[in-house]
């Protein structure tokens, strides 16, 4: 992975704090290999009792792998784990739970059709083989009162919002008497207000004497709530820091191994020509319920309009409507004055619309194809790739693939490589190369950096700003508020299928956006 190993950003303060308290957990020299990938290459992690410990690093740094080792989901190839000053062997979640280690998973480990209480007690139901709903709901209610966490025990998990589902995950862990709680990217799916509520719970837990490990790559959260920090990079330790004595820049440097670039300020204002004009747009969701309830907006040439909102408020459907992937129930979509709301994707694209879909692995790419083949998807019936529209010209495809692979920095720049074998960042570069290489007028971009590391994220952002500079209109849907605020000229907030506000980027504070995203129109206006 990362070859050269820059100096460690180890501070002396870490040991000073460490001596005051007994380490609750000591992981030493943990190694884990998956096929050709050395995911963990001798990682150490020391967590003191009663602290909130941040485990940070880029995607692929090994954070989640390390925690899965601790939780018994992976078996390490070598290394030792000491817990409460005893050597332990953790062969499965059962062992971890018995030791008092609990995990709040990033993808919630909840069974949607079961109730909150059933999910909490699942696997440790107590009280005989007969399931007594009332008794378990009472028990869960008692637990909620003790830790000041409110969720209706009798509600079905599939009926409650993500923020509450996360509380169920926390209750599950507390129910099992865990002393050490691992939070895996806990804020990824939450609104800013839900994040605040989560952090209130996190602090309460520390006051109750629990020890917490917080896996994250969001530095603001690290600074806000943690005591000490372990940084991983490329499966190795890249720093141990004390939160009070460090800065976000220092953490980021340890994570990336170099200084981060600053996005260039948006030099040019948007032009006057309106590229996309959407009026009264309505559409149904897959389930047949209204997903878009009358959407109006416009995007000008050289402008990025960010769409903020909690996932599932119509953002995906909006992007699909613009591309002709979803039936438009009412309203118009004009590109350069021409209504394309009834067009299929092929005709839409012919008007100069490009699309970077939210799930590149499902919608963006054919993973089994080569880089060159994925580059020409959608253009395969045109010269030079198919002279007569039927028979492909492999030589021309390969040549174009090689050129785009270099131009878009796909690593390795091999047009014959199978896309499934590329990293997420390089897969996204293939999508960008295909979508941006023909001077699109409108680019619909959905979650463009989801799951990408910092370097790849920077690359994507630069490319989008470059398109903006060339006069493209860009619709940016993202669940990362930082990304939206950094790139957008204006920000539209979607809530329940409507655009509830359009703000200038300058006036869109995180708090305002958060309130609007949660549906508080008056409060934020």
């Amino acid at each position: 992975m990362i070859g050269a190993r820059p100096e460690r950003a180890r501070t002396t303060g870490a040991t000073a704090v460490g001596t005051e308290r007994v380490p609750l957990l000591e992981m030493r020299g943990i190694r884990k290999r998956f096929g050709d990938l050395q995911a963990l290459d001798g990682v150490d992690l020391v967590v003191n009792e009663g602290e909130i410990h941040a485990l940070v690093g880029e995607n692929g740094a090994g954070k989640t792998t390390l925690m899965n080792v601790l939780y018994g989901l992976y078996h390490p190839d070598s290394g030792t784990i000491r817990y409460r000053e005893r050597d332990v062997r953790i062969t499965g979640p059962r062992d971890a739970i018995a030791l008092g280690i609990g995990m709040i998973h990033q993808h919630f480990m909840l069974v949607p059709p079961l109730t909150v209480a059933e999910n909490v007690v699942l696997g440790d139901e107590r009280g005989g083989p007969v399931l007594d709903d009332r008794a378990i709901e009472e028990r869960v209610r008692g637990l909620e009162e003790r830790f000041a966490i409110a969720v209706e025990p009798g509600a079905r998990v599939e009926d409650i919002p993500l923020g509450l589902q996360q509380r169920v995950e926390i209750l599950k862990v507390l129910y099992r008497g865990s002393e050490l709680l691992i939070f895996d990217e806990p804020t990824a799916v939450l609104t800013p207000q839900e994040v605040d509520e989560l952090f209130a719970i996190v602090r309460t837990l520390r006051e109750e004497g629990k020890t917490l490990i917080l896996i994250t790559h969001k530095l603001r959260e690290v600074m806000a709530v943690t005591d000490r920090i372990t940084v991983l990079r490329g499966g190795r330790n890249a720093g141990e820091l004390v939160t009070k004595q460090t800065t976000p820049a220092e953490i980021a440097r340890a994570m990336v191994g170099r200084e981060m670039k600053q996005l260039k300020a948006r030099a040019t204002p948007p032009r006057t020509e309106v590229i996309l004009d959407v009026r009264g747009l309505e559409a149904l969701s897959d389930r047949g319920s209204p997903a878009l309830r009358g959407i109006d907006f416009e995007i000008r040439s050289g402008e990025i309009l960010g769409i903020a909102g909690v996932g599932g408020n119509g953002q995906s459907e909006l992007a699909q409507c613009l591309l002709g992937l979803r039936k438009v129930a009412a309203g118009t979509i004009r590109i350069g004055g021409i209504d394309i709301s009834r067009d299929d994707p092929k005709r839409t694209r012919a008007r100069g619309v490009a699309y970077v879909p939210e799930d590149r692995r499902i919608e963006g790419l054919v993973l089994a194809f080569t880089v060159a083949d994925d580059f020409i998807l959608g253009k395969q019936d045109r010269p030079p790739y198919a002279a007569n529209g039927i028979v492909l010209d492999p030589a021309a495809i390969l040549k174009a693939g090689g050129r785009l692979a270099v131009e878009y920095d796909v690593r390795p720049p091999n047009p014959r490589a199978i896309v499934a074998n590329l990293s997420g960042g390089n897969q996204q570069k293939v999508v960008l190369g295909r979508e941006l290489s023909e001077r699109p007028k409108l680019i619909v971009v959905s979650q463009p950096t989801r799951g990408l590391d910092i370097a790849a994220t920077e690359y994507v952002h630069e490319r989008l700003l470059e398109q903006r500079g060339q006069g493209a209109a860009i619709l940016l849907v993202s669940s990362e508020l930082d990304e939206i605020r950094a790139l957008s000229d204006r920000i539209a907030v979607m809530f329940e299928g409507r655009i509830v506000a359009v703000l200038d980027a300058a006036s869109a504070t995180e708090e305002r956006l958060g309130l609007l995203m949660a549906g508080h129109t008056e409060a934020a206006a």
Partner: protein, 315 residues
């Protein structure tokens, strides 16, 4: 055509009789799919249950031994499916279909080897009817349920038992969790694969009991392919019944009623028009297609149904 031909006690009694094998297969399907394994080998399990029930009855002259043997062989066939589906993570449809073909060939071959062209012996120990004397005199009700076979009652009892097991017991909760979100189940220490093995094996036993019912309660003999797709209809009843035992019972009764009607309306006519019995006898199959195609309400299978579970880190 008379009212009696439509909803007479005879028709309703026949409905119960005809619904029973479908019901037992459907219950097997419910148990297996609730745990996340699609078991279309239920048809084959029924068939081996029917055949080996007859063989064991012939050899032992004991109904109990015959039923135990039938269910054991059904469990064995299902266990092969379980190994393929759970351990080897193979395609569950392909594995199930292969076992159905195996069951058909094996029973046909062994039937010929054991009994040649003369057919199975006529003095087989059959599963007895249960006579409910106090009810026998009650008009209508008595005619419907006073003389039903023991396995019919067993099937109805199993509906209650499995319904309670799935929704009112701790093991049932765990089984459902395994079928919905196996990783979640594993992270709280539930043994996913083990649960699935038991569920698939139980489904084979249930289907085999349905097969034994056909050969030992109804026909008192074995003929090639005598299950005639009832295992598949059972799966349709399971879908129709939204993966619940009680729902499967209702669906099985509808299918059974359709078949019962096609018998009772033989030669009947409305005015001068003869009732097209042949067409009527397609009713269960038409209902099956509708159920499987999802035209009957929106029923949602368990979320992890048919998806092999791979433990993380062993990829």
């Amino acid at each position: 055509m008379t009212i009696d031909q439509l909803i007479g006690a005879g028709v309703l009694a026949a409905t119960l009789r005809l619904a029973t094998p479908i019901l037992l297969a459907a219950l097997g399907g419910v148990v297996s799919e609730r745990a996340g394994v699609v078991n279309i080998a239920l048809e084959g399990c029924m068939l081996v249950g029917a055949f080996f029930g007859v063989v064991a009855a012939d050899q032992s002259h004991s109904v109990v031994v015959a039923l135990v043997a039938a269910m054991a062989v059904g469990a064995g066939l299902a266990a092969i499916h379980a190994v393929a589906a759970i351990h080897l993570r193979s395609d569950q449809i392909v594995s199930g279909m292969a076992l159905n073909i195996l069951a058909l060939g094996l029973t046909s071959y062994l039937d010929y080897q054991f009994y040649g062209t003369t057919g199975t012996p006529s003095d087989l120990a059959g599963v007895p009817d249960i006579e409910i004397a106090p009810l026998a005199a009650v008009p209508f009700v008595g005619d419907v349920i006073a003389h039903q076979n023991a396995i019919v009652w067993a099937g109805l009892a199993l509906v209650v038992l499995i319904q309670v097991f799935l929704f009112r017991t701790v093991p049932g909760l765990r089984l459902r969790a395994v079928g919905e979100h196996p990783r979640a189940a594993e992270t709280v220490g539930i043994a996913v694969r083990q649960t699935r093995y038991w569920a698939v094996i139980a489904s084979g036993m249930l289907a085999a009991l349905g097969g034994a019912y056909l050969s030992l309660s109804v026909a008192h003999s074995f003929t090639d392919g005598m299950t005639g797709g009832r295992g598949f209809i059972g799966l349709a009843a399971m879908i129709f019944g939204r993966w619940t035992p009680v729902g499967a019972l209702v669906a099985s009764l509808i299918f059974g009623y359709g078949t019962a009607l096609s018998f009772s309306l033989q030669g009947a006519s409305i005015g001068d028009v003869r009732v097209p019995v042949q067409l009527l006898s397609t009713l269960p199959y038409v209902l099956t297609i509708l159920a499987v195609a999802g035209f009957v309400g929106r029923s949602r299978p368990p979320a992890a149904d048919g998806i092999p579970y791979e433990t993380e880190g062993h990829a």
